[in-house]
Symmetry: C2
């Protein structure tokens, strides 16, 4: 690993925490605005509850620090369930994983920090979103990864819906500011990844997904990773503002609950992060925070 | 394969269809009784809807018959979702599966017939049940497999609850009539199988689970398989009659929706049949009929 990447461990870890704070603050403000607008005037706006956790590493001596994280969850009226998790963990990969993770073959050492966000709004007209960015360090490789994608919950929302178009447009702008090849590559990677094979359908309307990003210029890779987080928050804020007052019918809610079922199918059957986390004794509560609050398989 | 097992293909396939009929008839009767008792007096009792499907085998020439099945689903007031599926399929396993399935190494030929039942009652006080029995034939091996297990949906139900005890007792009686070793073995296999590893908790209160059953006496193995189906239906009928009139509160319903989430986690992350089916282009609608109608991850 080139020395100059190392200093970005602390920087990126701080950034992921700062971004967690920014996102939670914004979500709470919209939750509060929604109440004030009078639709649920008698209710008190809901806030995030936070829970910190410490990790133990089965391959390190008992009592050895192995990092941890902070999960934050809000169960509100505008946002039925919003989960914003930060973590910074380190330790040793098991023999099995050493072969799968770049640069970990030799000694299995790893360090990983990231933020993971999944927001399930109550309104079927506000799309669900997912954003995750991370920095990973193994003995021989270091990289950034992550992405953001959007999942409309009713059939009225197509790829041509202005809000979906705007989401893609903002991500495209961020990509283009860093590298003109990024958007095409990262958009395709997202479409390929968030595909529900057994149903031959996309999980949602896509976004961008990147992994193993190491251009040799850590400042630039870190800046891109920060921009993805900031851009995601900005464009989702726009979308919330445009759609939060739309009224919906029971039929839309039913449609949303069924589409959420597809989300669950993807996360439990195909999502690498979920399966990786659950099979490596990760924090179950944090990992499964992505699952929607109410789901239907009628 | 000893010749005398072959004649049981037709017999077992007929039996699975007959059992499907019996189970659906009984479930419809209880649904009807529930309405007549006046709790939902204005409603019309719901019936099963049936849908037949034909299978195509990607390894056989197009148009070649490869079996199929009939799925039946009831969405009622006593039973929020009851799925009763029959199938009889045959064809060629892919190279990958040939290595995993006993007796299929040589040419990949297989024949399989079975019934699969998952019942999700509306009342949180009536446990969810699962029963599946099947006969499988490959070029060099033939066997019966299956089992039945029960999942209470509220914490009030423990292993000592009389209804759970009765469920186990009936299965134990069936096992003992055939072989005094069966119950201990099949009960343990069930507990081992229906275990949610990432939560270190059982999916439910267990039952029995058996596979690769070939004692050399097909008549006896078939009789055991039939008894499991009949016994399951009898004991679940008893349980329904005892619990169908119990009134429950919203808090019990919430508890049930959360417990159903565990059921989904198990089925999508660990259940061999579900994963096998989805990854071999099985009938998605039939395979995922086991998923609960409404689920919560709060």
């Amino acid at each position: 690993m080139p020395e100059n990447y190392q200093q970005y461990q602390e920087k990126s870890s701080h950034w992921f925490q700062e971004l967690q704070q920014k996102i939670c603050h914004k979500i709470e403000n919209y939750e509060s605005l929604f109440i004030k607008k009078g639709l649920k005037a008698k209710e008190k706006p809901k806030k995030f509850t936070a829970k910190t956790w410490k990790r133990t590493d089965p391959l390190l001596p008992p009592g050895t620090a192995a990092g941890g994280g902070e999960m934050r969850i809000l169960k509100g009226h505008l946002f039925e369930k919003a989960g914003v998790n930060f973590s910074a963990v380190y330790g040793l990969f098991s023999e099995d994983f050493r072969r799968q993770i770049p640069g970990a073959e030799k000694d299995g050492k790893f360090w990983a920090s990231g933020i993971s966000v999944v927001i399930h709004p109550y309104s079927p007209f506000i799309p669900t979103v997912h954003m995750n960015t991370r920095m990973i360090v193994t003995s021989n490789k270091t990289w950034f990864g992550g992405g953001a994608d959007i999942t409309p919950m009713t059939a009225d929302f197509t790829i041509n819906q202005p809000e979906i178009h705007r989401f893609h447009q903002v991500l495209e702008g961020i990509c283009n500011r860093h590298n003109e090849d990024y958007y095409v590559r990262f958009k395709k990677a997202c479409d390929d990844y968030f595909f529900i094979k057994h149903r031959s359908e996309a999980r949602g309307a896509g976004g961008i997904f990147y992994d193993y990003l190491n251009t040799g210029n850590p400042e630039q890779d870190f800046a891109f990773t920060k921009d993805v987080g900031v851009g995601f928050l900005e464009v989702y804020s726009e979308i919330i503002e445009k759609l939060m007052d739309l009224e919906w019918e029971e039929q839309h809610r039913q449609e949303q609950l069924i589409r959420r079922g597809r989300y669950v199918e993807f996360n439990l059957l195909y999502d690498r992060g979920t399966i990786f986390g659950l099979k490596t004794d990760g924090n179950v509560e944090a990992i499964l925070m992505s699952l929607p609050p109410l789901v239907s398989w009628p």
